[in-house]
Amino acid sequence: MKAALFYGPENVRVEDIPDPVAGPNQVKIKVAWCGICGSDLGIYYGMLSDVITQRPLPVGIGHEFSGTIVELGPGVDANKLAIGQNVAVSSNVYSLETPSTRMQGVSCDGGGLSEYVVVEQDAVYILPAHIPLDIGALIEPLTVSWHALEKAQFKAGDSVLVLGAGPIGILIVKVAKVFGASWIGVSGRGAKRCSLVREHGASVVYAVPEVTDDEIVAETFKATKGNGADVVVDCAGTQSTLDVALKAVRPGGTVMNVAGWKKFPEMNMNLCLAKEIVLSNSLGYGGAHPEVIEAVAQGKFDKLDALVTLRVPLTEFVEKGLRALTHEKDQHVKVLIHP
């Protein structure tokens, strides 16, 4: 089968390798669609080498995927899973017993950027029949965003300031809307991103750098009766966004970090103290897949298909897929690859 293999920084090749075989408690999936994540870009450019080198190279990559079950390994619960079912996959095999994280398409055998992949049966979630498979590939990033807001204890009626209007920011906005946010402020860079995030549910968009950091803070206070936002989500990960977050969040509120960071920031701890700010971090799913799939199935999310801005065959993953996200970043939300 064809699979995208990571050999090293800027060295990903789509090659023919043997099909994987479903072992005990595993299922084999024919991949339908696999999305590209910002962390895949990070892997490609060699910025996440510590996580990758838990396995000998080359490794399969891709962790946001959907597909159809084609084989059940020994011991798989045939009451729950059957050949022919469409599924979304939870890529995070997270063990609380050991601090390390094993993640499909990052540090496990095989990734979603291939024709077939084998996963643990516990990592598989059935997609209701009316959810198309391309939307199925969005379940993973939607779940990351869902869990982040849950972890921030976001409640209906809360206000949220989202820093960054890239793919993560847009998904956070969509999830915040489903959670019943009373106000969603978003800061973003670039006309296309600002208009996209407005389409997907932002109450107000602050275009940086024309709107200054101080203005974002002041406007957030105005919009929240002078108290500050209940939650601030940092999807951008810079000193400037962290400073804005700490100033704009209300006393006792949560700053939720979902960003990848290029540089360690300085932290105004005394401001955190004076306002009892909680700085929380979310990477995983928190078991939210079933809830998210249910919400999608019930039509709670609108315009999910509008999030897919490019579809590329697996053979052109590097030339068209990664390139688009590197050089035309502002034009895209989700790029989906089909094997």
């Binding site: 601090p99 360690f264 300085e266 932290m267 701890m269 103290l273 909680v278």
Partner: protein
């Protein structure tokens, strides 16, 4: 009456001022003892929670000078009109919750009871409304709590920092059986150690560079005490080993330095909690990657939020043992010695002292005539 008053950075004086009377809803208290010192930062600089010589504080409406002292106990000597005398009677031993806030109906924090988050929150003994470094003080009855009968008055003065430690431990959401690491064994660290045990921590490690403070940590119940400056001591590895390779469920940073924060990030377990109770001299650099990959939450606390009643109840019914808390008092002084033997001792002989107790009744040392 005599009172120690703060005029500004470096300017603290013992003055004679008029004795307060118990106004509507107020209790007049004869102060027994007051702790010196969490207001140490004020010796160096004014803080936003203070008024200035010209600008009154919005909650107290007072300008400098203000009477100092917010950690104290005393005896009720008078009750004003409208006081609930079924709860508060003349002769009762009491402690004060010195947290002041705006109490406006438009303030969501005061309205919900989380007064420490009020944007104008401040303290008795820092922004006005009297202070514990005086002979008498009148306080709103809502801020007055009965000291459990078996607790001596000098230990009663420790109830305020104990409430800070209580709030710190509560907000960490520590569960019985948890493993905790306390960084820093100053007053707050030592009290946090005690409270964490009362909340059911099964293992508590304490890291502290000063010998005397390490000894106090052992005396106050630490399972293991680390000297992070000693050769060959690796606090992080030791914590990982002591916690079945997982890391501490909760880490309390009661020291507030780059080193302690870094240690906290590495020693906490994935999805664990770090609670910051310290005031910081500088902004640390955040190892955001460790935080992110381990999905750690980092929270901070300010003072207390509705902690006094449950804390004092736990003390009254023996669930929290105050035995030995008096060992945190390392010196007893008079008003006149507050600067030289109090504030300066805490600033410059930090490793020798934990809490210094000031008594209005203590006479200043008599100067011997030179012959």
């Amino acid at each position: 009456m005599r009172a120690v008053r703060y005029y500004g950075p470096g300017d603290v004086r013992v003055d004679r001022i008029s004795e307060p009377s118990a106004g509507k809803g107020q209790i007049k208290i004869k102060v027994s003892q007051c702790l010196c010192g969490s207001d140490l930062h004020l010796w160096h600089e004014l803080l936003p929670i203070c008024p200035t010589l010209t600008e009154p504080h919005v909650v107290t409406n007072e300008k400098l000078p203000v009477v100092m002292g917010h950690e104290f106990s005393g005896t009720i000597v008078d009750v004003g009109p409208g006081v609930d005398t079924s709860r508060l009677t003349i002769g009762s031993h009491v402690v004060i919750e010195p947290l002041l806030s705006c109490m406006q109906p438009t303030c969501p924090f005061c309205s919900q009871g989380a007064r420490n988050l009020c944007r104008h929150a401040t303290f008795i003994g820092i922004a006005g409304c009297g202070g514990g470094l005086s002979e008498y003080i009148s306080v709103d009855q809502r801020l007055v709590h009965i000291l459990p009968s078996h607790v001596p008055l000098d230990v009663g003065a420790i109830m305020e920092p104990l409430a800070v430690a209580w709030h710190t431990v509560k907000s960490s959401k520590i569960k019985p059986g948890d493993h905790a690491l306390v960084l820093g064994a100053g007053p707050i660290g030592l009290l946090t150690l005690r409270v964490a045990r009362a909340f059911g921590a099964s293992w508590i490690g304490v890291s502290e560079p000063a010998l005397k403070r390490r000894e106090l940590a052992s005396k106050n119940g630490a399972d293991v005490v680390f000297d992070p400056t000693a050769q060959g001591v690796d606090v992080v590895s030791a914590v990982i080993a002591a916690t079945g390779d997982r890391g501490a469920d909760v880490v309390f940073d009661c020291a507030g330095s780059q080193k302690t924060l870094d240690t906290a990030f590495l020693a906490v377990k994935p999805r664990g909690h770090i609670v910051n109770a310290a005031v910081w001299a500088q902004r640390p650099t955040l190892d955001i990657d460790s935080l992110t990959y381990k999905e750690v939450s980092l929270s901070s606390i300010l003072a207390y939020d509705r902690v006094h009643p449950e804390m004092l109840k736990a003390i009254a019914n023996g669930k929290f043992d105050v035995e030995g808390l008096g060992s945190l008092i390392t010196r007893r002084i008079s008003f006149e010695e507050v600067v030289d033997k109090g504030i300066k001792a805490l600033l410059y002989e930090k490793d020798e002292h934990v809490k210094i107790l000031v008594s209005p009744d203590l006479e200043p040392p008599v100067a011997h005539a030179r012959l």
